[in-house]
Symmetry: C2
Subunit: 416 residues, 2 copies
């Protein structure tokens, strides 16, 4: 193993989670403590901070404040949705990144994000290899969508799932309280993969969750949905539905677009969805006369509710960041830290760490296995519950002030 | 003092809260343990359960399951929004209630709810007095709106406030994460009183909360609001706004109705609001071109998020139920249990219990004092923060299974 001495950059990218900062802290703390890493920089808004030469000097941060990152939601360094072009088409950004890496003698680059961030991380890794600049590049996964390939699950997903399941249980108690009929439609994030919406099935497993759950893994049939709802409504007067924002019909058209034809497209080509719950509410109102129905969008809360995070997720997220640095210092590069699950003799869940090729992680999406979805396409089977439950265990006990969370306050001193 | 021996009924009514069951448990536990109370019945869906003769036998419930009510949100016995007519106009319901009271030898009646429930409680109390049926009637307050007269604060409000403030802090972290401008409008419950929306000011006090907060106590000027938002947006690119659902213009017209003229009216004559956030989002879009803006409705979650309740609130809610029974057994009737605040020599908050006349509580609404709202009408002053902070202290530690809440499972055996 060659000992490589130089600076490290950590960047965060894509939609934030409750625990992405726990991973960042895993990287920053381990890097600060490493004898081979001379300086630790946090890139302001991910790759944008590198392009703009805005790097925060992590050595100047207070150790206690850094430790509060474990329970501070969202990306403390700032995030971006900037997409690097193919270097064959336009090398400009890569030349700039190399210039910055040389300026700060950056020999370690850690990028903390989901599919698109792994794509960025992979492109930079391959570019540095091609131009012969020695830099160890490691991806640290995060996404509430849980759709990253090559890992049992993604940091961020368990906490979001715990929030979704807990909230569904609470909504169930509330929405059924009156002596009058009531339908409630809960919209949950997830464009192409239904992992997070599926987590509402844990509420059902606990005896108070959605009656129907629809995921983008199965084509959504509007008439089947209306039949499901109307039938149960007529029998019991109470219906709770959970849906992934990305559900679509057999032609691939998003159901959210049935109501809003003007959905915008972001820089990654993703449709900016929203309003699915109200679209479905309108459909049900057209089918059932005088129905009392409410749409609830869990919105940003599902990805930032650190107060309801899973301690298992916090621990694993920190460990992923730590493992990225330890492996890089030991000579590994061009990999993403991934999780592998096993069980001990008593059946207790164990999380093992492994390394996956960045190329693979960047370009493959993992979906909910079809055999975990029921035959009707409106609920989850037991294997999904068995998969989920070990991940959402463990209450967090974050620092508090005045009964409210005490989030990390970073100085963010820009390096010269 | 006359010792009155007989059965007790507890009913819950109105919109649920995270801790209304803690009050119910205070009543049920204390009543079950009282030598003067022979049987304890839970009315199914409040006053409706009495009219329909559906009373659950609380003596048959498991003690452990009952204790789980402390952290089970929403009304476990079921709620209603049934409004009793003036007995001078129509005595039918009162005759029926008296019949049921006689059938079960009900000598203690506890009603757990907000303004409208105190009105129901008061009417029953006065009717029983008039017809000479000896029954001690006590109101146990609850409302996330905090608008009950005669009490420093209402059980349910502190937990909802803690959830709102925590969620606003988390949304603040998330909504400002990108390197692009962003406006976020958070809609919070509260028809006539802005206490709950005001609690978002605690997030601002913690350094990460709304920039502007608008309450129904002050007439809402659409142009002033748009100026506030546009000015800050131009200066910083980041704006977070919190609004009470009940904000209205100088003519009294609800801002929510600017967008939706077809709001429905419930049986108490309240407009069924909703969609205020999206109405304001549309207004801002008309003012600022190409703005990135998101509306978030905290919806049912703010009143049922027991996982984020204030332990202070849980304790006080239980104590209110307990005090209602203890006072009734000691001869008190026709009162609502209320809170009075004091501070010890070290400045620590102390909650004292007192009794208020039901008539007064039933017919008066308490609003946020105007001197606690800033001169601009878009934020709160320090006295509100000082009022709020002691109430939201204390983390709950509810029973959990699989990392999820373990709510009470009542048998609900209907009494013959």
């Amino acid at each position: 193993m060659t000992q490589l001495i130089g600076s490290a950059i950590i960047g965060q990218s894509g939609g934030p989670t409750s625990v992405i900062n726990a991973s960042a802290y895993g990287v920053i703390r381990t890097a600060l403590d490493s004898p081979y890493i001379t300086k630790v920089y946090g890139a302001a808004h991910g790759i944008r901070g590198i392009l703009d030469d805005i790097l925060y000097d992590m050595d100047q941060e207070d150790a206690y404040e850094l430790s509060l990152l474990l329970h501070t939601p969202s990306s403390a360094l700032g995030s971006c949705r900037y997409k690097l072009k193919d270097p064959e088409v336009d090398e400009t950004d890569y030349i700039r990144i190399l210039e910055i890496f040389k300026k700060y003698n950056v020999r370690y680059f850690f990028y903390n994000g989901g599919n698109d961030s792994m794509d960025t991380c992979n492109k930079i890794s391959k570019y540095m290899q091609r131009v012969g600049y020695e830099c160890r590049v490691m991806g640290v996964p995060k996404t509430i969508d849980n759709d990253l390939y090559g890992t049992d699950h993604c940091p961020g997903f368990p906490s979001a799932a715990r929030y979704v399941a807990t909230s569904c249980m609470e909504i169930y108690q509330d929405a059924r309280v009156y002596d009058t009929p009531m339908i409630c439609i809960i919209e949950i994030m997830g464009r192409h993969a239904g992992w997070l919406a599926a987590s509402s099935a844990a509420a059902t497993y606990m005896g108070c969750g959605p009656d129907f759950i629809y995921l983008p893994e199965v084509d959504f049939d509007v008439n089947k949905f209306l039949d499901d709802v109307e039938d149960l409504y007529k029998r019991t007067g109470k219906v709770i539905v959970a849906v992934s924002e990305g559900i679509h019909d057999a032609s691939g058209k998003l159901i959210a677009e049935y109501g809003a034809a003007d959905a915008k497209v972001d820089s990654f080509g993703h449709k900016q969805l929203g309003g699915l719950a109200s679209t479905l509410v309108d459909m049900v109102k057209n089918r059932i006369e005088n129905v009392k129905i409410r749409g609830i969008e869990l919105s940003l809360l599902q990805r930032c509710a650190a107060h309801c995070a899973s301690q298992t997720d916090v621990d694993e997220s920190f460990a992923a960041g730590k493992a990225a640095v330890e492996n890089a210092v030991n000579g590994v590069t061009d990999k993403m830290v991934a999780f592998e699950r096993s069980y001990d003799a008593e059946g207790n869940y164990i999380c093992n760490y492994k390394l996956e090729d960045l190329t693979l992680c960047a370009n493959t999406e993992k979906k909910v296995p079809l055999e975990w979805i029921n035959a009707e396409g409106n609920g989850l089977e037991k294997p999904y519950i068995d998969y989920l439950l070990p991940l959402i265990k463990g209450d967090v006990n974050p620092a508090r002030e005045n009964g409210l969370p005490r989030f990390a306050k970073l100085k963010k001193i820009v390096a010269k």
